[in-house]
């Protein structure tokens, strides 16, 4: 078909010097005169380890990706890859991932906003700080919340869970897989089995912020309806991405709710078409995804799912490192916060200070040796214990020497702390 060009445009086009264009377009001054950084030569700066978790060089390099539109054909498959690989990490074939810019906390809002309607009941199993907060989040969305509180360092008994589930109709039950404030590991498989047996309609929600990719989670086989997490722990990526995976049952519950979702940003109704589009390879827009973090997540998930060690070997590496650190801690006179080794997390340790020592005796000495640990978080025992992370590349890549460095620093710091005191030996 013939095209009409206004004569003024034709005249202007005729004046455009071709050579100048070629130079300007093909000889951008920005890149030709300098050597760009490559994945191979990028090495992060020296820093204290391992807190909260080490991030691999290639993941940080991905986080420094040049600016890229979220609807670019180069980026769309990266997002799709993350969705697919997340399913592998959680052992689910049809779970629906949601990757949304936000902190791990946004996962709670997603659950409370989409799966509970005002006036419905939620049961929160409490093994530390994060139970209280999740309960408060449910309250903000109008749910009635009951908490079953374990003693500090303990887990809620199966008998108590059964009793509660029989007493009332709960829309959801939640538990913190690993509560960072106590280092307690809940038995996800057993809890899900109990729910299925006693109250099969209840949705089982696993808060996996501190457990995904460091503890085994088999979403389909165990019947978990929601796993929510964040990037900055076992996934080994900087923080800023709320990572959630919902079973098809959970998605249907959200789709068939009667009252509208009282959040805009956390609404699955908004995000579901986006996640499905990106997985199919088509861009879609609701809110701009955190593009660089998605590149970083892709880099880390590729390592986790596509290279040695396998996922099972990864979990085993976490168990081994955990046993090593906990055994040394015991020898140094440190009791664990978890009341039983069977309910202690494999990706972190919560350790009481040795008898006679306090935070200021130990933490500065560890820091001086290049080891970062976290102080206490559980308000009832805040000043009596500290927490050390041992997950991700710290335990999976022994050539880094991170675990041995933590062990050696703990030993030396305790010995120095005691030596600095006037000591009466029992």
């Amino acid at each position: 078909m013939a095209t009409r060009i206004p004569s003024s445009v034709r005249t202007f086009c005729a004046t455009i010097p071709r050579r100048r264009h070629f130079q300007l377009i093909h000889r951008s001054p920005s890149f030709l005169e300098r050597k760009m950084s490559t994945k191979q030569d990028f090495k992060q700066e020296p820093h204290k380890i391992p807190g909260p978790i080490e991030v691999a060089d290639e993941v940080l390099f991905a986080n420094a990706h040049p600016s890229m539109s979220h609807v670019s054909p180069d980026f769309v498959p990266v997002f799709g890859d993350c969705i697919r690989m997340l399913r592998e990490v959680l052992f689910t074939t049809d779970g629906q991932p949601f990757l949304i810019a936000g902190s791990g906390t946004l996962g709670w809002d997603q659950v409370a906003a989409n799966l509970i309607e005002p006036g419905e009941n939620a049961l929160v199993l409490h093994t530390g700080y994060f139970g209280d907060s999740f309960a408060e989040c449910f309250g903000a969305y109008g749910a009635n919340v009951d908490q079953l509180k374990a003693e500090i360092g303990g887990v809620v008994s199966q008998a108590d869970i059964e009793k509660a589930l029989k007493s009332k109709k709960y829309k959801v039950i939640t538990f913190t897989h690993v509560d960072t404030s106590t280092g307690v590991l809940s038995d996800a498989k057993l809890i899900a089995e109990t729910v299925k047996k006693v109250s099969p309609d209840t949705l089982t929600v696993l808060d996996g912020v501190c457990s995904v990719a460091s503890e085994e989670i088999r979403m389909d086989a165990w019947g978990i309806d929601v796993v929510l997490t964040a990037t900055q722990k076992g996934l080994g990526v900087p923080p800023g991405l709320s990572v959630l995976c919902a079973s098809q049952k959970a998605v249907k519950v959200s789709e068939s709710r009667k009252s509208p979702v009282t959040s805009y940003y956390a609404s699955w109704k908004k995000w579901l078409p986006i996640m499905r589009a990106y997985e199919k390879g088509t861009p879609a827009y609701f809110a701009t995804p955190p593009v660089n973090l998605v590149y970083a997540l892709q880099a880390s998930l590729t390592t986790i799912t596509k290279s040695k060690p396998t996922l099972e070997e990864r979990f085993e590496a976490h168990r081994r490192a955990s046993q090593r650190i906990k055994a040394v801690a015991k020898q140094l006179g440190m009791k664990q916060v978890p009341l039983d080794p069977a309910i202690a997390a494999n990706g972190m340790s919560a350790l009481y200070y040795p008898h006679g020592l306090v935070a200021s005796d130990l933490l500065p000495r560890l820091a001086q040796k290049g080891v970062v640990v976290a102080g206490g978080l559980h308000s009832a025992i805040k000043d009596k214990y500290f927490r050390v992370g041992h997950m991700g590349i710290t335990v999976v890549d022994p050539s880094r020497g991170d675990v041995e460095k933590v062990v050696a620093s703990l030993e030396a710091s305790v010995a120095e702390a005691f030596a600095s005191k006037e000591v009466v030996v029992e």
Copy 2:
């Protein structure tokens, strides 16, 4: 005071070989055997420009910062710096910044969740796609929303705004400073003056996702109550951080609300103590901040507020680049979507395709020349126009040659497109 050490711990400590510790602690294998990357030598990979916006090498390098705890004494002042520098960019002395992991969209939730109570009225000035979405967000939180819709490419008249404000008591009025879907720039100062004159209790909310740091915003002088934005446009940082600044008046309105905030993650009640603590140099925890993005924001805000050009010169550079690109577009037969040059954004252009050309004639040719533009977004004219960004380092650092490359690529692509057609000259 005497300290008692259990004898088993004493025995164990005595067995710890000092030399081994020294080696393990001070000769970490991770860093001594390799050359780390430095800010000076980090150069991002070649990529198409300028879409959506170019990010400087030093900002990307900051985004690749080694893992750092959000409560680390090294990180806390970085967060505080961002809070203080954001005030400078917005010309406010006592505005309260909120920096929260999330997309720009989360800023709407913050406004709708904290400043409006169910049943109260919100007035949305609509100059494109984003007005509808902000209105929908208000609806999710139970507000009654009225929209004043401008014609495509236009702005709402002062007379209509006055009339609406006189007709009903509005808790908030919102406008999109630059609507990315139309490239229309609203007159923030005039709108705020009108509100103060007609309805002084109404809070004025400026959606500055596409305008902060590329268009002048004087929060205090003009009496703007909320500026909400994101990192990935004029601030020149990868996406993933919701950036908002509230006047003390707005903070007080949120603090004196009668009904509870029906969001957990977007609740200022939760975030206010965190922001205040970080500004004072003390860490506090509600949800993990996106640490690396905060480092990146610090790097960019430092450039924007502490080096040449000044903020005023920066705005002027945006105006100049905008005029250059719009003048060339006009010569190429492209009409602007904004109906009047006086209401056209300075950080982007929304341009109708030249008569006789469509998206597939132009966009692939631009991409081939290394220039990324965005297709249409406003549903009524989606296939008739495209959008090109010219903000941040692209316009502030002429040595990059970005603007000239965009100009040259536009000229060449239009000429090629016409040349490829069977042309009938008018």
